[in-house]
Protein backbone atom coordinates (compact mmCIF):
# COMPACT_ATOMS: atom_id res chain seq x y z
CA UNK A 1 0.00 0.00 0.00
CA UNK A 2 1.37 3.37 -1.00
CA UNK A 3 0.98 6.31 1.37
CA UNK A 4 -0.62 9.41 -0.16
CA UNK A 5 -0.90 11.34 3.10
CA UNK A 6 0.77 14.73 3.52
CA UNK A 7 0.70 17.26 6.33
CA UNK A 8 -0.06 20.89 5.72
CA UNK A 9 0.84 23.09 8.70
CA UNK A 10 -0.06 20.42 11.24
CA UNK A 11 -3.25 19.21 9.55
CA UNK A 12 -2.98 15.82 7.87
CA UNK A 13 -4.49 15.44 4.39
CA UNK A 14 -5.48 12.02 3.04
CA UNK A 15 -3.87 13.06 -0.21
CA UNK A 16 -2.27 16.25 -1.55
CA UNK A 17 -5.02 17.02 -4.08
CA UNK A 18 -6.83 20.33 -3.52
CA UNK A 19 -9.26 21.89 -6.01
CA UNK A 20 -8.13 25.48 -6.53
CA UNK A 21 -10.15 28.51 -5.62
CA UNK A 22 -12.49 29.79 -8.31
CA UNK A 23 -12.85 26.42 -9.99
CA UNK A 24 -14.82 24.62 -7.30
CA UNK A 25 -17.28 27.17 -5.91
CA UNK A 26 -18.14 26.27 -2.31
CA UNK A 27 -18.01 22.59 -3.10
CA UNK A 28 -21.67 21.70 -3.39
CA UNK A 29 -21.83 21.87 -7.21
CA UNK A 30 -19.26 19.05 -7.26
CA UNK A 31 -20.77 17.21 -4.29
CA UNK A 32 -23.70 16.45 -6.60
CA UNK A 33 -21.23 14.55 -8.80
CA UNK A 34 -19.06 12.67 -6.30
CA UNK A 35 -18.27 12.46 -2.59
CA UNK A 36 -15.91 15.41 -2.22
CA UNK A 37 -14.71 14.08 1.15
CA UNK A 38 -12.19 12.09 -0.86
CA UNK A 39 -10.28 15.33 -1.52
CA UNK A 40 -7.29 16.39 0.56
CA UNK A 41 -9.26 19.60 1.10
CA UNK A 42 -10.43 22.34 -1.23
CA UNK A 43 -9.90 26.06 -1.50
CA UNK A 44 -13.23 27.82 -1.65
CA UNK A 45 -14.26 30.67 -3.94
CA UNK A 46 -12.24 33.84 -3.35
CA UNK A 47 -14.08 35.85 -0.73
CA UNK A 48 -13.96 39.61 -0.29
CA UNK A 49 -15.29 42.01 2.33
CA UNK A 50 -18.12 43.26 0.10
CA UNK A 51 -20.19 41.39 -2.50
CA UNK A 52 -18.77 41.55 -6.03
CA UNK A 53 -20.37 40.85 -9.39
CA UNK A 54 -16.98 40.89 -11.06
CA UNK A 55 -16.15 41.97 -14.58
CA UNK A 56 -18.40 42.28 -17.62
CA UNK A 57 -18.80 39.25 -19.93
CA UNK A 58 -17.29 37.68 -21.99
CA UNK A 59 -15.07 36.55 -19.15
CA UNK A 60 -13.80 33.34 -20.73
CA UNK A 61 -11.56 32.69 -23.74
CA UNK A 62 -9.85 29.56 -24.93
CA UNK A 63 -6.13 29.20 -25.62
CA UNK A 64 -4.00 26.30 -26.83
CA UNK A 65 -4.05 23.84 -23.91
CA UNK A 66 -5.54 26.40 -21.59
CA UNK A 67 -7.91 29.25 -21.03
CA UNK A 68 -8.21 32.86 -19.99
CA UNK A 69 -10.65 34.11 -17.39
CA UNK A 70 -11.51 37.60 -16.25
CA UNK A 71 -14.20 36.70 -13.74
CA UNK A 72 -12.93 39.32 -11.31
CA UNK A 73 -13.61 37.70 -7.95
CA UNK A 74 -17.37 37.37 -8.18
CA UNK A 75 -18.57 36.39 -4.71
CA UNK A 76 -21.43 37.24 -2.37
CA UNK A 77 -19.18 38.94 0.22
CA UNK A 78 -17.93 37.53 3.49
CA UNK A 79 -21.19 37.97 5.44
CA UNK A 80 -23.21 35.90 2.97
CA UNK A 81 -20.38 33.41 2.59
CA UNK A 82 -20.68 32.80 6.33
CA UNK A 83 -24.47 32.85 6.52
CA UNK A 84 -25.34 31.04 3.27
CA UNK A 85 -22.38 29.30 1.61
CA UNK A 86 -20.54 27.75 4.55
CA UNK A 87 -23.67 26.02 5.96
CA UNK A 88 -24.18 24.41 2.53
CA UNK A 89 -20.51 23.51 2.32
CA UNK A 90 -20.67 21.89 5.76
CA UNK A 91 -23.42 19.55 4.57
CA UNK A 92 -21.30 18.05 1.82
CA UNK A 93 -17.75 18.35 3.19
CA UNK A 94 -16.65 17.28 6.65
CA UNK A 95 -12.90 17.98 6.52
CA UNK A 96 -11.11 21.25 7.27
CA UNK A 97 -11.52 23.58 4.29
CA UNK A 98 -9.19 26.25 2.94
CA UNK A 99 -10.59 29.79 3.00
CA UNK A 100 -9.44 31.83 0.01
CA UNK A 101 -9.56 35.54 0.75
CA UNK A 102 -9.03 38.59 -1.43
CA UNK A 103 -9.09 42.32 -0.90
CA UNK A 104 -8.30 45.78 -2.17
CA UNK A 105 -6.60 47.21 0.91
CA UNK A 106 -4.67 45.68 3.81
CA UNK A 107 -7.65 46.38 6.09
CA UNK A 108 -10.02 44.46 3.76
CA UNK A 109 -7.92 41.33 4.03
CA UNK A 110 -7.71 41.62 7.80
CA UNK A 111 -11.46 42.24 8.12
CA UNK A 112 -12.44 39.27 5.94
CA UNK A 113 -10.01 36.91 7.66
CA UNK A 114 -11.14 38.06 11.10
CA UNK A 115 -14.77 37.35 10.17
CA UNK A 116 -13.91 33.91 8.80
CA UNK A 117 -11.55 33.04 11.66
CA UNK A 118 -14.55 32.14 13.86
CA UNK A 119 -15.63 29.41 11.46
CA UNK A 120 -14.45 26.10 12.89
CA UNK A 121 -14.37 24.28 9.59
CA UNK A 122 -11.74 26.60 8.16
CA UNK A 123 -8.38 24.90 8.55
CA UNK A 124 -6.19 27.32 6.65
CA UNK A 125 -6.32 30.71 5.03
CA UNK A 126 -5.12 31.14 1.49
CA UNK A 127 -4.65 34.85 1.02
CA UNK A 128 -4.84 35.84 -2.62
CA UNK A 129 -2.63 38.82 -3.24
CA UNK A 130 -2.38 38.00 -6.89
CA UNK A 131 -5.68 38.09 -8.78
CA UNK A 132 -4.86 39.67 -12.15
CA UNK A 133 -8.45 40.63 -12.82
CA UNK A 134 -9.00 43.50 -10.46
CA UNK A 135 -7.62 46.88 -11.36
CA UNK A 136 -5.27 48.53 -8.95
CA UNK A 137 -5.99 46.04 -6.16
CA UNK A 138 -4.95 42.43 -6.04
CA UNK A 139 -2.21 42.59 -8.60
CA UNK A 140 -0.45 45.51 -6.96
CA UNK A 141 -0.30 43.66 -3.64
CA UNK A 142 1.22 40.59 -5.12
CA UNK A 143 3.81 42.36 -7.18
CA UNK A 144 5.41 44.34 -4.36
CA UNK A 145 7.35 42.67 -1.55
CA UNK A 146 6.40 45.46 0.84
CA UNK A 147 2.67 45.03 0.22
CA UNK A 148 2.96 41.25 0.48
CA UNK A 149 4.65 41.71 3.84
CA UNK A 150 1.98 44.17 5.07
CA UNK A 151 -0.92 41.92 4.12
CA UNK A 152 0.76 38.90 5.70
CA UNK A 153 1.35 40.74 8.98
CA UNK A 154 -2.20 42.12 9.07
CA UNK A 155 -3.76 38.71 8.50
CA UNK A 156 -1.47 36.94 10.98
CA UNK A 157 -2.64 39.43 13.64
CA UNK A 158 -6.30 38.40 13.31
CA UNK A 159 -6.01 34.62 13.13
CA UNK A 160 -4.13 31.72 14.65
CA UNK A 161 -4.96 29.45 11.76
CA UNK A 162 -2.16 28.76 9.26
CA UNK A 163 -1.88 31.48 6.62
CA UNK A 164 -0.77 30.69 3.08
CA UNK A 165 -0.08 33.62 0.79
CA UNK A 166 -1.03 33.01 -2.85
CA UNK A 167 1.50 34.64 -5.14
CA UNK A 168 1.33 36.10 -8.61
CA UNK A 169 3.66 34.78 -11.31
CA UNK A 170 3.51 38.19 -12.99
CA UNK A 171 6.66 39.44 -11.27
CA UNK A 172 10.35 39.64 -12.07
CA UNK A 173 11.53 37.65 -9.06
CA UNK A 174 8.95 35.57 -7.22
CA UNK A 175 11.46 34.44 -4.59
CA UNK A 176 11.78 37.99 -3.30
CA UNK A 177 8.01 38.15 -2.62
CA UNK A 178 7.99 34.67 -1.09
CA UNK A 179 10.83 35.60 1.25
CA UNK A 180 9.02 38.79 2.30
CA UNK A 181 5.92 36.73 3.17
CA UNK A 182 7.99 34.23 5.13
CA UNK A 183 9.73 37.00 7.06
CA UNK A 184 6.34 38.54 7.86
CA UNK A 185 5.16 35.29 9.44
CA UNK A 186 3.40 33.43 6.64
CA UNK A 187 2.93 29.73 7.37
CA UNK A 188 3.19 28.78 3.73
CA UNK A 189 3.22 29.94 0.14
CA UNK A 190 0.71 29.06 -2.52
CA UNK A 191 1.65 29.47 -6.18
CA UNK A 192 1.11 30.21 -8.98
CA UNK A 193 -1.98 32.30 -9.63
CA UNK A 194 -2.81 32.83 -13.30
CA UNK A 195 -0.49 34.45 -15.79
CA UNK A 196 -1.72 37.66 -17.37
CA UNK A 197 -2.77 36.93 -20.94
CA UNK A 198 -4.88 38.04 -23.88
CA UNK A 199 -6.70 36.75 -26.96
CA UNK A 200 -7.96 38.80 -29.89
CA UNK A 201 -11.03 37.90 -31.97
CA UNK A 202 -10.03 38.01 -35.64
CA UNK A 203 -13.62 38.70 -36.73
CA UNK A 204 -14.14 41.76 -34.53
CA UNK A 205 -10.41 42.56 -34.33
CA UNK A 206 -10.85 43.31 -30.62
CA UNK A 207 -9.88 41.44 -27.44
CA UNK A 208 -12.24 38.53 -26.75
CA UNK A 209 -12.50 39.32 -23.05
CA UNK A 210 -14.60 42.36 -22.14
CA UNK A 211 -11.89 43.14 -19.59
CA UNK A 212 -9.33 42.85 -22.44
CA UNK A 213 -6.81 40.89 -20.35
CA UNK A 214 -7.34 37.87 -18.16
CA UNK A 215 -5.68 35.13 -16.16
CA UNK A 216 -4.13 32.32 -18.19
CA UNK A 217 -4.44 28.85 -16.72
CA UNK A 218 -4.56 25.22 -17.78
CA UNK A 219 -2.05 22.59 -18.83
CA UNK A 220 -0.09 25.12 -20.92
CA UNK A 221 1.24 26.93 -17.84
CA UNK A 222 2.57 23.86 -16.00
CA UNK A 223 6.26 24.39 -16.88
CA UNK A 224 6.13 27.97 -15.61
CA UNK A 225 4.46 26.84 -12.40
CA UNK A 226 6.99 24.04 -11.87
CA UNK A 227 9.89 26.43 -12.39
CA UNK A 228 8.51 28.94 -9.88
CA UNK A 229 7.69 26.30 -7.25
CA UNK A 230 11.22 24.98 -7.70
CA UNK A 231 12.70 28.46 -7.21
CA UNK A 232 10.55 29.30 -4.19
CA UNK A 233 11.38 25.93 -2.57
CA UNK A 234 15.03 26.93 -2.60
CA UNK A 235 14.26 30.41 -1.24
CA UNK A 236 12.02 29.65 1.77
CA UNK A 237 11.65 27.04 4.49
CA UNK A 238 7.86 27.20 4.84
CA UNK A 239 5.69 24.70 2.92
CA UNK A 240 4.47 25.33 -0.60
CA UNK A 241 1.15 24.52 -2.23
CA UNK A 242 1.97 24.15 -5.91
CA UNK A 243 -0.47 24.74 -8.74
CA UNK A 244 -0.63 25.62 -12.41
CA UNK A 245 -1.78 23.25 -15.12
CA UNK A 246 -2.12 20.16 -12.94
CA UNK A 247 -4.24 17.61 -14.82
CA UNK A 248 -2.96 14.12 -13.97
CA UNK A 249 -1.54 12.08 -11.09
CA UNK A 250 1.84 12.34 -12.81
CA UNK A 251 1.55 16.14 -12.69
CA UNK A 252 0.94 15.94 -8.93
CA UNK A 253 4.13 13.91 -8.49
CA UNK A 254 6.09 16.29 -10.70
CA UNK A 255 4.89 19.33 -8.74
CA UNK A 256 5.79 17.67 -5.43
CA UNK A 257 9.26 16.83 -6.74
CA UNK A 258 9.64 20.54 -7.53
CA UNK A 259 8.93 21.30 -3.89
CA UNK A 260 5.19 21.34 -3.26
CA UNK A 261 3.78 19.76 -0.09
CA UNK A 262 0.30 19.79 -1.58
CA UNK A 263 -1.03 20.49 -5.05
CA UNK A 264 -4.00 22.44 -6.31
CA UNK A 265 -5.98 21.57 -9.41
CA UNK A 266 -7.69 24.48 -11.14
CA UNK A 267 -8.74 24.75 -14.78
CA UNK A 268 -8.87 20.95 -15.15
CA UNK A 269 -11.99 20.91 -12.93
CA UNK A 270 -13.82 23.10 -15.41
CA UNK A 271 -13.38 20.85 -18.43
CA UNK A 272 -13.37 17.59 -16.52
CA UNK A 273 -15.68 17.84 -13.49
CA UNK A 274 -14.35 14.53 -12.15
CA UNK A 275 -10.70 15.60 -12.59
CA UNK A 276 -9.76 15.59 -8.89
CA UNK A 277 -11.55 12.30 -8.24
CA UNK A 278 -9.74 10.69 -11.15
CA UNK A 279 -6.36 12.10 -10.10
CA UNK A 280 -6.80 10.83 -6.52
CA UNK A 281 -7.90 7.39 -7.70
CA UNK A 282 -4.99 7.25 -10.10
CA UNK A 283 -2.30 8.38 -7.65
CA UNK A 284 -1.49 4.91 -6.23
CA UNK A 285 -0.94 3.53 -9.75
CA UNK A 286 1.33 6.44 -10.70
CA UNK A 287 3.24 6.12 -7.43
CA UNK A 288 3.82 2.41 -7.97
CA UNK A 289 4.93 3.05 -11.53
CA UNK A 290 7.61 5.48 -10.32
CA UNK A 291 8.40 3.39 -7.24
CA UNK A 292 7.21 5.94 -4.71
CA UNK A 293 6.06 4.49 -1.38
CA UNK A 294 5.16 7.72 0.35
CA UNK A 295 4.36 11.10 -1.19
CA UNK A 296 5.79 12.86 1.88
CA UNK A 297 9.21 11.53 0.95
CA UNK A 298 9.28 13.07 -2.52
CA UNK A 299 8.62 16.70 -1.59
CA UNK A 300 11.44 18.73 -3.13
CA UNK A 301 13.03 15.54 -4.43
CA UNK A 302 14.18 17.21 -7.65
CA UNK A 303 16.60 19.50 -5.79
Amino acid sequence: MVDTKVTLSGIELDNPVIPASGTFGFGYEFADLYDINMLGTFSFKGTTKDPRFGNPTPRIAETPSGMLNSVGLQNPGVEKVISEELPKLKKCFSKPVMANVSGFAVEDYAYTCQMLDKENQIGWFEVNISCPNVHGGGLAFGTSAKNAENVTKAVKKVTNKPVYIKLSPNVTDITEIAKACEAAGADGISLINTLLGMRIDLKTKKPILANKMGGFSGAAIKPVALRMVYQVYEAVKIPIIGMGGITTAEDVIEMMLAGATAVEVGAANLVEPFACKKIIEDLPRAMEKYRINSLKEIIGGAH
Partner: protein, 243 residues
Protein backbone atom coordinates in the same frame (compact mmCIF):
# COMPACT_ATOMS: atom_id res chain seq x y z
CA UNK B 1 -25.56 16.27 -14.90
CA UNK B 2 -23.88 13.12 -16.11
CA UNK B 3 -20.69 12.52 -18.03
CA UNK B 4 -20.60 9.84 -20.65
CA UNK B 5 -19.25 8.57 -23.92
CA UNK B 6 -21.74 8.98 -26.76
CA UNK B 7 -21.68 7.35 -30.16
CA UNK B 8 -22.41 9.50 -33.20
CA UNK B 9 -25.36 7.96 -35.05
CA UNK B 10 -25.46 10.62 -37.75
CA UNK B 11 -24.04 14.06 -38.48
CA UNK B 12 -25.79 15.67 -41.42
CA UNK B 13 -25.67 19.03 -43.13
CA UNK B 14 -29.26 20.36 -43.08
CA UNK B 15 -28.69 24.00 -44.11
CA UNK B 16 -25.57 26.01 -45.02
CA UNK B 17 -23.05 25.46 -42.17
CA UNK B 18 -25.83 23.93 -40.03
CA UNK B 19 -25.55 20.28 -38.95
CA UNK B 20 -27.86 17.90 -37.16
CA UNK B 21 -26.07 15.33 -35.01
CA UNK B 22 -27.75 12.32 -33.43
CA UNK B 23 -25.98 10.84 -30.42
CA UNK B 24 -26.54 7.47 -28.77
CA UNK B 25 -26.13 7.07 -25.02
CA UNK B 26 -27.56 7.78 -21.57
CA UNK B 27 -30.13 10.58 -21.63
CA UNK B 28 -31.37 10.19 -18.05
CA UNK B 29 -29.92 13.56 -17.01
CA UNK B 30 -32.15 15.44 -19.45
CA UNK B 31 -35.23 16.53 -17.58
CA UNK B 32 -36.56 19.48 -19.60
CA UNK B 33 -36.54 20.94 -23.10
CA UNK B 34 -34.01 23.75 -23.59
CA UNK B 35 -31.19 22.14 -21.61
CA UNK B 36 -27.78 21.79 -23.21
CA UNK B 37 -24.86 19.39 -23.45
CA UNK B 38 -21.14 20.20 -23.27
CA UNK B 39 -18.99 18.33 -25.75
CA UNK B 40 -15.25 17.64 -25.41
CA UNK B 41 -13.57 18.35 -28.73
CA UNK B 42 -10.30 16.62 -29.59
CA UNK B 43 -7.40 19.05 -29.42
CA UNK B 44 -9.31 21.91 -27.78
CA UNK B 45 -9.24 22.82 -24.10
CA UNK B 46 -12.78 23.96 -23.37
CA UNK B 47 -15.88 21.92 -24.07
CA UNK B 48 -18.47 23.26 -26.50
CA UNK B 49 -21.97 23.89 -25.15
CA UNK B 50 -24.72 22.94 -27.63
CA UNK B 51 -28.46 23.08 -26.95
CA UNK B 52 -30.52 19.90 -27.13
CA UNK B 53 -33.00 19.86 -30.00
CA UNK B 54 -34.69 16.60 -29.08
CA UNK B 55 -34.15 13.50 -26.95
CA UNK B 56 -35.68 10.19 -26.05
CA UNK B 57 -34.60 7.27 -23.84
CA UNK B 58 -31.42 6.52 -25.74
CA UNK B 59 -30.79 9.31 -28.20
CA UNK B 60 -29.97 13.02 -28.19
CA UNK B 61 -30.36 15.26 -31.25
CA UNK B 62 -28.44 18.52 -31.47
CA UNK B 63 -28.37 21.08 -34.26
CA UNK B 64 -25.38 23.38 -34.44
CA UNK B 65 -23.87 25.92 -36.79
CA UNK B 66 -20.20 25.94 -37.69
CA UNK B 67 -19.03 29.24 -36.24
CA UNK B 68 -15.46 28.48 -35.16
CA UNK B 69 -12.76 25.92 -34.56
CA UNK B 70 -14.79 23.70 -32.21
CA UNK B 71 -17.91 23.37 -34.33
CA UNK B 72 -15.71 22.91 -37.42
CA UNK B 73 -14.09 19.84 -35.81
CA UNK B 74 -17.52 18.64 -34.64
CA UNK B 75 -18.87 18.91 -38.19
CA UNK B 76 -16.23 16.42 -39.33
CA UNK B 77 -17.39 13.70 -36.92
CA UNK B 78 -18.49 10.52 -38.64
CA UNK B 79 -21.03 7.85 -37.77
CA UNK B 80 -19.71 5.60 -34.95
CA UNK B 81 -17.21 8.22 -33.75
CA UNK B 82 -17.41 8.68 -29.97
CA UNK B 83 -17.60 11.90 -27.99
CA UNK B 84 -17.08 12.67 -24.28
CA UNK B 85 -20.10 14.73 -23.26
CA UNK B 86 -21.58 16.31 -20.12
CA UNK B 87 -25.34 15.92 -20.39
CA UNK B 88 -28.28 17.59 -18.71
CA UNK B 89 -26.88 21.07 -18.17
CA UNK B 90 -28.94 24.16 -17.40
CA UNK B 91 -32.51 24.57 -16.24
CA UNK B 92 -34.34 24.52 -19.60
CA UNK B 93 -37.79 25.79 -20.50
CA UNK B 94 -40.69 25.20 -18.14
CA UNK B 95 -43.55 23.69 -20.16
CA UNK B 96 -45.86 24.08 -17.14
CA UNK B 97 -45.96 27.84 -17.62
CA UNK B 98 -47.25 27.74 -21.17
CA UNK B 99 -50.93 28.64 -20.86
CA UNK B 100 -53.23 27.17 -23.53
CA UNK B 101 -51.87 29.04 -26.57
CA UNK B 102 -48.09 29.27 -26.30
CA UNK B 103 -45.97 30.96 -28.97
CA UNK B 104 -42.47 29.64 -29.71
CA UNK B 105 -40.11 32.11 -31.37
CA UNK B 106 -36.79 30.92 -32.77
CA UNK B 107 -34.14 32.88 -34.61
CA UNK B 108 -31.52 31.03 -36.69
CA UNK B 109 -29.63 28.51 -34.57
CA UNK B 110 -31.92 29.52 -31.70
CA UNK B 111 -34.58 27.34 -33.32
CA UNK B 112 -33.39 23.85 -32.21
CA UNK B 113 -34.07 23.97 -28.43
CA UNK B 114 -37.70 24.88 -29.18
CA UNK B 115 -38.32 21.60 -30.99
CA UNK B 116 -38.61 19.26 -28.01
CA UNK B 117 -40.50 21.99 -26.14
CA UNK B 118 -43.00 22.13 -29.01
CA UNK B 119 -43.34 18.35 -28.91
CA UNK B 120 -44.02 18.36 -25.15
CA UNK B 121 -46.54 21.20 -25.38
CA UNK B 122 -48.44 19.51 -28.19
CA UNK B 123 -48.48 16.26 -26.23
CA UNK B 124 -50.07 18.21 -23.40
CA UNK B 125 -52.83 19.32 -25.77
CA UNK B 126 -51.71 22.93 -26.17
CA UNK B 127 -52.43 24.96 -29.26
CA UNK B 128 -48.87 25.86 -30.26
CA UNK B 129 -47.83 28.62 -32.69
CA UNK B 130 -44.25 28.72 -33.92
CA UNK B 131 -42.44 31.63 -35.56
CA UNK B 132 -39.08 30.89 -37.11
CA UNK B 133 -36.82 33.70 -38.27
CA UNK B 134 -33.99 33.33 -40.77
CA UNK B 135 -31.97 35.71 -42.93
CA UNK B 136 -32.90 34.07 -46.21
CA UNK B 137 -34.73 31.10 -47.73
CA UNK B 138 -31.63 28.88 -48.04
CA UNK B 139 -30.99 29.04 -44.29
CA UNK B 140 -34.42 27.75 -43.27
CA UNK B 141 -34.53 24.45 -41.40
CA UNK B 142 -37.09 22.52 -39.34
CA UNK B 143 -40.17 24.30 -40.71
CA UNK B 144 -41.66 20.96 -41.74
CA UNK B 145 -40.55 19.21 -38.59
CA UNK B 146 -42.46 21.70 -36.43
CA UNK B 147 -45.48 21.36 -38.75
CA UNK B 148 -45.31 17.59 -38.43
CA UNK B 149 -45.65 17.93 -34.66
CA UNK B 150 -48.93 19.74 -35.21
CA UNK B 151 -47.87 23.34 -34.61
CA UNK B 152 -48.99 26.33 -36.68
CA UNK B 153 -45.74 27.53 -38.23
CA UNK B 154 -44.92 30.95 -39.67
CA UNK B 155 -41.53 31.65 -41.18
CA UNK B 156 -40.04 35.11 -41.52
CA UNK B 157 -37.03 35.92 -43.68
CA UNK B 158 -35.18 39.20 -43.39
CA UNK B 159 -34.81 39.48 -47.16
CA UNK B 160 -38.36 38.37 -47.94
CA UNK B 161 -37.23 35.38 -49.98
CA UNK B 162 -39.69 33.11 -48.11
CA UNK B 163 -42.71 33.60 -45.87
CA UNK B 164 -43.23 36.90 -44.10
CA UNK B 165 -40.72 39.54 -45.13
CA UNK B 166 -39.02 40.99 -42.11
CA UNK B 167 -38.26 39.83 -38.57
CA UNK B 168 -39.98 37.43 -36.19
CA UNK B 169 -41.81 40.39 -34.65
CA UNK B 170 -43.44 41.07 -38.05
CA UNK B 171 -44.63 37.46 -38.20
CA UNK B 172 -45.97 37.56 -34.61
CA UNK B 173 -48.41 40.43 -35.18
CA UNK B 174 -51.51 38.42 -36.05
CA UNK B 175 -50.88 35.49 -33.71
CA UNK B 176 -52.99 35.06 -30.60
CA UNK B 177 -50.86 33.73 -27.71
CA UNK B 178 -50.90 33.78 -23.93
CA UNK B 179 -47.27 32.86 -23.20
CA UNK B 180 -44.07 32.80 -25.24
CA UNK B 181 -40.78 30.91 -25.31
CA UNK B 182 -37.84 32.16 -27.34
CA UNK B 183 -34.26 31.44 -28.26
CA UNK B 184 -32.14 33.45 -30.67
CA UNK B 185 -29.82 36.43 -31.01
CA UNK B 186 -29.90 39.42 -28.65
CA UNK B 187 -31.26 41.95 -31.21
CA UNK B 188 -34.21 39.60 -31.77
CA UNK B 189 -34.80 39.37 -28.00
CA UNK B 190 -34.86 43.16 -27.71
CA UNK B 191 -37.36 43.44 -30.55
CA UNK B 192 -39.55 40.76 -28.94
CA UNK B 193 -39.33 42.42 -25.56
CA UNK B 194 -40.61 45.71 -27.00
CA UNK B 195 -43.58 43.91 -28.61
CA UNK B 196 -44.88 41.27 -26.21
CA UNK B 197 -47.58 41.92 -23.63
CA UNK B 198 -47.57 38.51 -21.90
CA UNK B 199 -45.12 36.51 -19.79
CA UNK B 200 -42.50 34.35 -21.38
CA UNK B 201 -39.11 32.70 -21.17
CA UNK B 202 -35.90 33.67 -22.96
CA UNK B 203 -32.98 31.30 -23.50
CA UNK B 204 -29.62 33.11 -23.37
CA UNK B 205 -26.19 32.40 -24.73
CA UNK B 206 -22.77 33.34 -23.30
CA UNK B 207 -19.16 32.23 -23.57
CA UNK B 208 -18.86 29.56 -20.89
CA UNK B 209 -15.96 28.06 -19.02
CA UNK B 210 -17.35 24.94 -17.38
CA UNK B 211 -21.06 24.90 -18.26
CA UNK B 212 -22.08 23.53 -14.86
CA UNK B 213 -21.91 26.48 -12.50
CA UNK B 214 -18.38 26.26 -11.12
CA UNK B 215 -16.38 29.03 -12.75
CA UNK B 216 -18.68 32.06 -12.75
CA UNK B 217 -17.58 32.77 -16.32
CA UNK B 218 -21.08 33.39 -17.67
CA UNK B 219 -22.72 35.37 -14.88
CA UNK B 220 -25.35 38.00 -15.47
CA UNK B 221 -27.31 40.38 -13.27
CA UNK B 222 -31.04 39.79 -12.86
CA UNK B 223 -33.75 41.48 -10.81
CA UNK B 224 -33.34 38.63 -8.33
CA UNK B 225 -29.56 38.79 -8.02
CA UNK B 226 -26.60 37.42 -9.96
CA UNK B 227 -27.25 34.30 -11.97
CA UNK B 228 -25.12 31.93 -13.99
CA UNK B 229 -26.34 31.52 -17.58
CA UNK B 230 -25.10 27.91 -17.57
CA UNK B 231 -26.59 26.71 -14.28
CA UNK B 232 -29.41 29.07 -13.26
CA UNK B 233 -30.14 29.67 -16.98
CA UNK B 234 -29.85 29.49 -19.91
CA UNK B 235 -33.62 30.00 -19.67
CA UNK B 236 -34.82 33.00 -17.70
CA UNK B 237 -38.28 34.35 -16.99
CA UNK B 238 -39.15 37.62 -18.71
CA UNK B 239 -39.89 39.16 -15.30
CA UNK B 240 -36.36 38.67 -13.94
CA UNK B 241 -34.34 39.94 -16.88
CA UNK B 242 -32.54 43.27 -16.80
CA UNK B 243 -32.23 44.52 -20.39
Amino acid sequence: MTQGIYKVKSNTLIAPSVYRMELLGDTSALTRPGQFINIKIDGLFLRRPISVCDYNDSEITVIYKVVGEGTEILSQCKTNDVLDILVGLGNGFDPEKSGEKPLLIGGGVGVPPLYNLCKQLINKGKSVSVVLGFNTKDEIFYENEFKALGATVTVATADGSYGVKGFVTDAMKDIDYDFFYTCGPMPMFKAIESTVKVSGQYSFEERMGCGFGACMGCSCKTKYGNKRICKDGPVMDREEIIW
